[in-house]
Amino acid sequence: MKYLDEYRSEEVTKKLVDELHRIQTRPWVIMEVCGGQTHSIVKHGIDYLLPKGVELVHGPGCPVCVTPLDMIDKAHAIARQSNVIFCSFGDMLRVPGSEGDLFTIKSQGGDVRVVYSPLDCLKIARANPDRQVVFFAIGFETTAPANAMLVWQARESQLKNVSVLVSHVLVPPALEAILQSPENRVQGFLGPGHVCAVMGYSEYEPISAKYRVPIVVSGFEPIDIIQGTLMTIRQLESGRAEVENQYSRVLNREGNQAAQKLVSSVFEVSDRNWRGVGTIPKSGYRLRSEFAAYDAEKLFDVQRIDTREPEICISGAILRGIKKPHDCPAFGSACDPQHPLGATMVSAEGACAAYYTYGRHLKQEDGCLVSISPGDAA
């Protein structure tokens, strides 16, 4: 990190890419787990720099994408109530439920607020003692310490008008679900850097050993991703399967233990439904029973809402690395970021939305840009 220019230079990128070309002898499929990594790869065209035989497939690591439709409908049902101030991270506002999104509810008079930090909800609750403040607590392990602190502080300060709608997901069970699938193509993972900044990476070691799959915890910048890919290919080519840490400047094996401690005080592991994938055992968090007074699902009587996803959408296969956005007949035509049909298009970090944003639904034809047809860009 000391030699800034060297680290950012084209020269370093070229050296890493040249090394990849030199060592790669056969085709490999690597999945980047985190949506932030997907965004970086598509934005910078990193996949185009890699040898032809190294395929990057895009993982399930976008929490907005995998929040199930029935949970979004529950959030909307709560946000529509007149006594509620509904708070959310900005990413969640455009995600459509069965009837519109949070922006629609806001335009119809609902009090929907974007917050920077979950702790903002404490201030809003103190300023509005006669109203209920509900926070949509979504995210992976990275966000769990922040959401846990909101609940903890609400109890400490005896605030009675704050609650959370929890839809928390965990990375390791999702990796296992991908690896257990008979259709699985993934041979190595770029692990999620900021999830591991909180959790460390020891919990990935048994997965790597059991499924004989390299997992290289990686950062989010282009050179991080190329270097992480190189480390993964080195393992694959030499027949190793270990957990390695490319992102050592930010995290270690133990992670942030203060954060882990508070998270496990507030949350407990539970089964979770992942949009596009289905229910994965022990793949999320729910509030511990001693915090039931802060559970919006219990406080607001929202009935179980039955929802159906469009049949054409292949986001489940994309999230498991089996298909790519271009394999979908609706990509860029019936489905785009303004009118998303499924998980991978609803958030900027979803694979389909990233492909669309960076023009990958288009191709050059007779000097014009035209929409690509399914299968064109395999």
Binding site: F89, R113, S117, K123, G139, E349
Partner: protein, 96 residues
Amino acid sequence: MCLAIPGKVLSDYEQGSMRMAKVQFGGIVREACLEYVPETKVGDYVLVHVGFAISRVDEEEAQRTYQLLEEMDQLTELEAPVVREMGERDDEEKVP
């Protein structure tokens, strides 16, 4: 969503039972909770996710990452409105 942005701790203070800080991200100053990085001192660089410092980083690294994120238009998280309580000072947003 799991984006974390490095910034410099300008000052620290107690709020409720939490140790908080003003953290500078390029030209923007926002509040962050330091409870999960108790060893942090004023002047240190921290990696901040949704208003919480989750680890410490060194200055050169912070500067470099910020520039890359800025080039990638990934700083929208910082644009969420500032929530203030009555009497709270209006010293966030912009660095003079």
